[in-house]
Symmetry: C2
């Protein structure tokens, strides 16, 4: 599947805010480690190093069943989210 | 949509290898910065800090159109991928 089509939408009006979505899925054995929880804070820190993130515009959801753990991070960014020097 | 169902598959046989999938989508203005390229190496580094990654089991795909940039990282992990001390 082309995830570009999954995430991309035809837009008529200019974009008011940028949006960053991260999906992380760990297909594991039932007793497998909870890698998603381990990675969560560090991935949020990587994002914050590059854009000014408004904490109440960050939505983090975690979900798990016997075989899969899923982390969903959704960040709304102002158009002029200053990209700090890498 | 519950991404758990999107990523989760009913399994009859025990898992032979774990799998970590990361999808990152940046919905931006056409002139917006290329955040996905900026974040790519640092997210790979975060993963490598927590699991032993076999470089030829890592598949990285990037795609972009006028409005969206998408990064797809797919990592196959051995069942005993040692999770290093955080």
């Amino acid at each position: 599947m082309s995830f570009l089509r999954f995430f991309g939408k035809q837009r008529s009006a200019p974009l008011a805010r940028e949006r960053l979505q991260i999906l992380l899925a760990h297909e594991r054995s039932p007793a497998g480690s909870d890698l998603v929880s381990l990675l969560r804070e560090e991935i949020l820190a990587v994002i914050a190093r590059h854009v000014q993130v408004d904490q109440d515009k960050v939505c983090v959801k975690m979900d798990r069943d016997e075989n899969v753990s899923v982390l969903e991070i959704d960040v709304e960014l102002p158009l002029d989210a200053v990209v700090k020097a890498a």
